[in-house]
């Protein structure tokens, strides 16, 4: 319980620092939320409230910005964020099959994007700008090019396996 509290306190301190560093200027709201999301891996509602008070803007405005941009998430995300590119070049190179394979492996249905154990989150992005390597997938910002569905499943197996080993 003690660790949980101190973890909360640590994060809370980080949020305060972020707001301070940006000088409470309203035009820094997007940047503040980006950094807050790095601390929590998502934007918890109570933190949004706090950011609003701290920056002197209305909660509605903060909520509006947080829900407008695709990179912000109001729900917890997994430890590994798999971003599957579905840009034009990836689309004509079979990104659909890749997506299907990932969904099947992680047992995700279309509206659900995070596994219940908070290990994996699957997102699609419009273009990662690595079109010459289509189809492209990134896992926590590491880029994998010309991926096949089999390779993708193997990659996920490896990550999931590594986690299990770590716990034992």
């Amino acid at each position: 319980m003690a660790t949980l509290e101190s973890d909360c306190a640590r994060r809370f301190k980080a949020v305060n620092e972020i707001i301070e560093r940006h000088g409470k200027r309203p035009e820094r709201l997007v940047a503040v939320l980006q950094e807050v999301q790095e601390v929590y891996r998502y934007l918890p509602e109570e933190v949004l409230q706090y950011v609003a008070t701290g920056m002197g803007v209305s909660p509605a405005e903060v909520f509006g910005v947080a829900t407008f941009y695709e990179n912000f998430s109001l729900k917890p995300k997994g430890k590994y964020i798999i971003r599957c590119c579905d840009g034009t070049a990836c689309h004509v190179h079979g990104s659909e099959a890749l997506l299907t394979a990932i969904r099947q492996r992680l047992q995700l249905t279309a509206p659900e994007t995070t596994t219940p154990d908070l290990m994996f989150t699957l997102e699609t992005v419009a273009c990662l700008g690595a079109c010459a390597l289509a189809p492209v997938v990134t896992i926590n910002d590491k880029v994998y090019g010309q991926v096949t569905p089999d390779q993708m499943v193997a990659l996920i197996d490896e990550l999931a396996g590594g986690e299990k080993d770590g716990k034992d």
Binding site: Q34, F68, G87, T88, G129, A132
Partner: protein, 631 residues
């Protein structure tokens, strides 16, 4: 480092860096663009480092500026993108300019021993043209590079983007020095006007006129904003420039700041480009240290500051007024114009907004003059344009060609033709705002006006080549799905129009389309074009309109005959049993999950089409190859 105080001092430094660099002729350059890194170029770099150190010494610019190089010295550097990403990791060995493709760490020793020590080419690692065994030792001989004219991308892949001194040695910041010392701000604008440079982010508005408007707008504070929110799927020119030659973008922006009378600038980069953000941050720090950015640039009384803003994943922020709103920390939604940004932009002040490639053209333009710049291109589009060539083409990657180069030259000479030697069907240009062009347009020159007349637009420069196996209705659906998701929802024509168009297209690819859908689709498309608030809405229907214009028969086949000519749309596929091949073994019937197959043993079986779910399980079960999918 002491700040550079004058143009002459900059020139002296450039000469000094060049002389130092000449002390060593051997240099190994490893591409560290996003593509090559994904293919493992950092591991290759580490292996090359080890291999060089085994028998020689690695020297860098710091060393060479202080002392002589030992006999066995080699330079080893990571560079920005060389454009031929598909063949990564790419390694270049100077001075013989041997270019190696698909290099793996275990090749490092051989490369060093052969090419660095013995000046010989390692043939097995050179590029071979697909379908032949012809080797190309050097980059300039490879067909992919031969017809290109790499001016804006000239430094990418040939220098370390994280060292400002290399940029200075390659005439970097000379354009800025000349602008500040030999031109008044108005003369700089005059020069940009004369060059005929047009905005390379899409619409092609003359850059000089924009600059002029901002200069003339009343106001104390003015801003320069660089649009690096390259959101078009299939485009990555700006990413490569920001990653491979960040100082060029900075230099262009500083010159623009001087010309329009701004003291501050913002670079807005999309969040999907972390490496670009990192390199730009580094470049800004270096430029400040050298006195090329900040207070009293090059000893003059001109001061300029630059900030970086990271996007948060909204395509609409590529639209200028939405981008400005996003920098202000708000929801990135467009506002009606006028007033234009040049009158009322960022924080309510006159703002100059150009895209990355446009700014990257400025240093060359100011260094060489408008006339030299305008010597390339066509009567109305000058200079060069970078394109991201992708899709079903043999050579994919980043290219740069003079304006007016034909599509045929790009796709067949540079791109090497269609993969698998299938037939060319279409090329999608300009992303979701662009259009699909057909074989009849292959001789169309790539310039702003020719493209516009063909119902397309330059867009940011993504070229996605499609072969005969592509369904154009599906492509239209794909783009509409994209624009519909990315519509910011502020104006009704775009928000509702794209949703309705998507519904109709989804119906058509699912085999539920009616002939009257096509007329309705066209009507909505025109409405969205005429009535949307911003440029993105106005162009959202382009992929639909252009495919309807050039591939109408494909739409008709979908709605009238319920057939997908390319065999792509799953719902329109049928599975049939060929009676003459079927031996009536019943295996297919046993595996069918919906009991759609029936028949008598030893007689041809049949599939009930209305029951069949097209899962294809029967196809793989048939030992006689009697079952196949038809469109």
């Amino acid at each position: 480092m002491e700040k550079i105080k004058s143009g002459e001092e900059l020139e002296r430094l450039a000469t000094m860096y060049r002389q130092a660099a000449r002390k060593v002729t051997k240099r190994v350059l490893v591409c560290a663009g996003t593509g090559c890194v994904a293919n493992g170029s950092l591991q290759v770099y580490a292996a090359l480092r080890e291999a060089i150190e085994e028998g020689g010494a690695i020297v860098d610019l710091d060393w060479l500026l202080e002392k002589e190089a030992p006999d066995n010295a080699t330079r080893l550097d990571k560079t920005g993108c060389r454009g031929f990403c598909q063949l990564g990791p790419l390694v270049l060995v100077e001075p013989d300019d041997f270019m190696y493709v698909h290099v793996r760490p275990e090749d490092a020793r051989e490369i060093i021993q052969e090419s660095v020590v013995n000046n010989r080419c390692v043939d097995r690692l050179t590029y071979t043209a697909p379908g032949s065994d012809k080797h190309f030792d050097r980059e300039e001989d490879i067909p992919f590079y031969k017809k290109q004219h790499r001016q804006t991308l000239g430094n990418c892949g040939h220098m370390n983007p994280e060292d400002i001194r290399e940029y200075i040695a390659r005439d970097g910041y000379q354009g800025l020095a000349q602008s500040l010392t030999q031109y008044s701000p108005l003369e700089v604008i005059e020069e940009v006007l004369k060059s005929g440079l047009r905005g390379l982010g899409g619409a092609g508005f003359p850059a000089g006129r924009k600059w002029q408007a901002v200069r003339e707008a009343p106001g104390e504070r003015k801003y320069v904003v660089c649009n690096g929110d390259e959101g078009d799927p299939g485009a990555f020119m700006d990413r490569s420039i920001m990653e491979g030659d960040p100082h060029k973008v900075l230099e262009g922006m500083i010159i623009a700041g001087y010309a329009v009378g701004a003291a501050e600038g913002y670079i807005y980069v999309r969040a999907e480009y972390p490496l670009a953000v990192e390199r730009l941050h580094k470049a800004i720090g270096e430029a400040e240290e050298f006195g090329l950015l900040g207070d009293n640039i090059l000893g003059t009384d001109f001061s300029f500051k630059l900030h970086i803003n990271k996007g948060a994943g909204a395509f609409v922020c590529g639209e200028s007024s939405a981008l400005v709103a996003s920098i202000e920390g708000k929801r990135g939604m467009p506002v009606p114009r006028p007033p234009r940004l040049a009158q009322r932009g960022l924080f309510g002040c006159p703002t100059l907004l150009n895209n990355v490639e446009t700014f990257a053209n400025i240093p060359y333009l100011m260094r060489k003059g408008a006339q030299a710049f305008a010597s390339l291109g066509t009567a109305t589009s000058f200079g060069t344009k970078a394109f991201a060539l992708t899709g079903n083409v043999k050579n994919t990657g980043l290219i740069e060609v003079p304006m007016g180069t034909t599509l045929r030259e790009v796709i067949f000479d540079i791109g090497g033709g269609i993969k698998g030697d299938l037939r060319f069907k279409a090329v999608q240009i300009g992303g979701p705002s662009g259009a699909c062009l057909t074989a009849e347009h292959l001789d169309l020159p790539l310039d702003f006006d020719s493209l516009k007349n063909a119902g397309a637009m330059m867009g940011s420069g993504g070229l996605v080549v499609m072969d005969e196996g592509t369904c154009m209705v599906e492509v239209a659906r794909f783009f509409m799905d994209f624009t519909q998701r990315e519509s910011c929802g502020k104006c009704i024509p775009c928000r509702e129009g794209t949703s309705r168009m998507l519904e109709i297209l989804e119906g058509i690819v699912a085999g539920k389309g009616q002939e009257e859908d096509l007329a309705l689709l066209e009507e909505i498309a025109h409405m969205v074009h005429d009535m949307s608030l911003c440029g993105l809405g106005k162009t959202a229907a382009n992929p639909v309109l252009s495919t309807l214009r050039y591939f109408r028969d494909e739409y008709v086949a979908h709605v009238r005959d319920k057939r997908c000519p390319a065999g792509v749309c799953a719902s329109l596929r049928r599975i049939v049993i060929e009676a003459e091949k079927c031996k009536g073994c019943s295996r297919c019937a046993k595996v069918c999950p919906v009991e759609a197959i029936s028949g008598e043993i030893k007689k041809p079986f049949t599939i009930a089409e209305d029951v069949c779910i097209r899962c294809g399980a029967c196809i793989s079960q048939c030992p006689f190859g009697a079952i196949k999918e038809v469109s």
